[in-house]
């Protein structure tokens, strides 16, 4: 693992939120390095700082103290434009409630990040259909989010996160709204993409179903890393 590129480096990360006259410390001195191609989970109870950490890695938030280097960019020193460019080009997001754009079709939802990248129509079509093929939803391209099941919606969200071939995909409780079967389907899809495209996946979760797919689990408790565990024999095996 040591020869792999370290794409995320978190050093002495502290994040505090103002609460009344004082503040709440969500992250309290996090040191963590994530390498390219990892399939990693930030695991812990509610309030342990998983989502906050994910948001800082995704450049949606900045640390109060410490440094977060994501793909050679210091998150704290990015302008709004640079931060948006980083997210658009290199980071994909998957949310618990899918966050699909409601009035857009499946195709348009997946296409949106590419439109922001000003890619040509031909390039966009190829990439979108490819992404929909990864998640098995080419037949739903013209459907709207309201016409999809929870599992299908999350697969669209995965396609949207993956369509631009990002370096990192950040997934915040991706299976929280799904039943067991759909959870396994989307996790298998993500794991497959991780192995085929070498995309780094970082999850924030406390779902057992997700944990069995992870190859590295970082346990958080009260904003601190309690345990950092490499899973040698992940139960999931890619089906050929």
């Amino acid at each position: 693992m040591s020869e792999k590129e370290k794409i995320i480096r978190l050093t002495g990360l502290v994040k505090q939120f103002p609460v009344g006259d004082g503040h709440f410390t969500a992250l309290n001195g996090i040191n963590l390095t994530i390498e390219r191609g990892e399939f990693l989970g930030l695991v812990g109870p509610s309030g342990s700082g998983k989502t906050t950490l994910l948001n800082i890695i995704g450049s949606l938030d900045t640390p109060t103290e410490g440094e977060a280097i994501v793909l050679e960019h210091s998150v704290s020193s990015l302008t709004a434009k640079e931060s948006a460019a980083l997210r658009n080009k290199s980071i994909g997001f998957i949310f618990q409630s899918y966050n699909l754009l409601p009035v857009h079709t499946v195709y348009e939802n997946v296409e949106f990040p590419l439109l922001l990248q000003k890619r040509s129509a031909g390039e966009r079509y190829k990439a979108v259909m490819n992404a929909l093929e990864w998640v098995g939803l080419t037949d739903k391209a013209a459907s709207r989010p309201a016409q999809l099941s929870g599992g299908e919606s999350q697969r669209v969200a995965i396609a949207r996160a993956m369509v631009k071939r990002p370096d990192v995909v950040l997934a915040d409780e991706p299976s929280a709204n799904l039943d067991a079967k759909n959870s396994h389907t989307i996790l298998q899809t993500m794991r497959q993409l991780n192995e085929e495209l070498n995309t780094t996946f970082v999850f924030a979760t406390h779902d057992e179903k997700v944990m069995q797919y992870l190859r590295r689990i970082v346990y958080l408790e009260d904003g601190k890393v309690e345990k950092d565990e490499i899973i040698q024999d992940s139960t999931f095996k890619i089906q050929n």
């Binding site: 709004a80 434009k81 948006a84 460019a85 997210r87 949310f95 966050n99 009035v103 949106f112």
Partner: protein, 390 residues
């Protein structure tokens, strides 16, 4: 272009909320176009009628004449200088002599202005041809308002009394040869028109006039030997002021209507910020800057007005065309006001006015859409994703 396409998609996807805003904005646009058209139509009619009936293309006034001061009439007459002679001969100038007089009808006394006009003139619409008389009768034409005041009909005889140039009173009977209808009250109310040569003879003011009405064919456009030239702008000044006043009223109505329409857009936009917080967060997570999202939401609000105008053009064009053709027939009491209103007012649609209305609607809707969306640029993305923008 991406923002515009997304904005269109978002507002069309919003369904009834969008169409309500579009309907209100299109109604405002069409109503204002109709209202402004009516004012433009009225002003145009009034200008044309005032020129045709009263002012011509300009007037030369005797140096003592002041149309707002009847006391000047006694001294406001003289023989026009020789410089006017060729134009008086070819009738591109027509002389009018005005004196104060009194009319008696059924024992009532009425102060009038006795106006002498050439019976063969064709410069003004006054039906002066009726002033020709084969016998010694003194024919007169009066307007419908004056006829009502004097309780006179065609063929009636009235006694008038006047003072000649020496101040001596004289009196004579006139015959109402014709009663005309004019939207211009100032050629009607308190006016009795008789033949110029007769009036000159009655007053001893041979070859004299109070003012000369100029046709567009007359090249003279400056003061001549103490006769002051008054151009159309001066003569129509009151009308322009009245039109300006009407435009202010129109602007107030427009502002009220637009405010109601924009209130709907503002309401939608404010609700959008709260209802679509996750969407805002999603746009940002996908790589848009908060400023781009602000622009997107502002564009959505502005697009309501664009759609409103488009829809307004679609249903308003045939309606406004029909309205332009048929006009509005006013009750008689309106034409009596004397504002140059014809019996039927036909709107005129000025492209400049329509474009100004469009620009105002678009600019105001852009502004009103931008106000609530400013919050997006300052909001915390993480809070937006959680739906917690306050």
């Amino acid at each position: 272009m991406l923002l515009f396409k997304t904005a269109i998609k978002n507002i069309l996807g919003a369904g009834r909320r969008t169409w309500l805003n579009v309907a209100v904005l299109s109604f405002t646009f069409v109503l204002m176009t109709a209202f402004n058209g009516l004012i433009d139509g009225w002003v145009n009619d009034a200008i044309v009628d005032t020129r045709d009936w009263e002012t011509g293309a300009g007037q030369f006034w005797h140096e003592n004449y002041d149309r707002y001061d009847v006391f000047t009439l006694q001294d406001a007459h003289g023989v026009p200088p020789d410089a006017f002679a060729p134009y008086l001969a070819d009738k591109s100038l027509t002389p009018i002599l005005v004196i104060q007089a009194v009319a008696y009808e059924s024992g009532n006394m009425q102060n009038i202005q006795l106006k002498g006009i050439d019976p063969s003139q064709q410069l003004l619409e006054i039906p002066s041809r009726y002033l020709h008389a084969d016998d010694d009768a003194l024919n007169a034409v009066i307007g419908a308002r004056m006829a009502r005041t004097l309780n006179a009909d065609e063929g009636d005889r009235l006694l008038i009394r006047w003072r000649d140039k020496n101040g001596a009173f004289d009196a004579r009977e006139i015959v109402i040869a014709s009663i005309f209808n004019s939207s211009i009250a100032t050629v009607d109310e308190g006016q009795v028109w008789i033949a110029l040569d007769k009036l000159r003879e009655m007053t001893g003011m041979q070859d004299e006039a109070t003012y000369l009405v100029r046709s567009a064919d007359c090249p003279l456009e400056q003061d001549v030997n103490g006769w002051h030239y008054k151009d159309s702008d001066f003569l129509l000044e009151d009308l322009y002021l009245m039109a300006q006043h009407s435009r202010v009223e129109s602007l107030i109505i427009f502002t009220i209507l637009l405010a109601i329409a924009l209130l709907a857009v503002f309401d939608t936009q404010t609700l959008s910020i709260f209802r679509r917080q996750k969407e805002i967060g999603t746009y940002i997570s996908l790589g848009m800057t908060p400023k781009q999202v602000t622009r997107l939401f502002t564009l959505e609000g502005t697009t309501y007005s664009l759609l409103g105008i488009l829809v307004g053009i679609l249903w308003g064009t045939p309606l406004l065309y029909w309205y332009g053709q048929t006009g509005i027939t006013l009750p008689e009491s309106y034409t009596e006001i004397g504002l140059g209103m014809r019996e039927t007012m036909r709107p005129i649609y000025d492209p400049g006015t329509i474009l100004t209305s469009i620009a105002i609607i678009i600019f105001m809707s852009m502004l009103i859409s931008w106000l609530p969306t400013r919050k997006i640029a300052k909001s915390n993305v993480v809070e937006a994703l959680k739906g917690r923008i306050t």
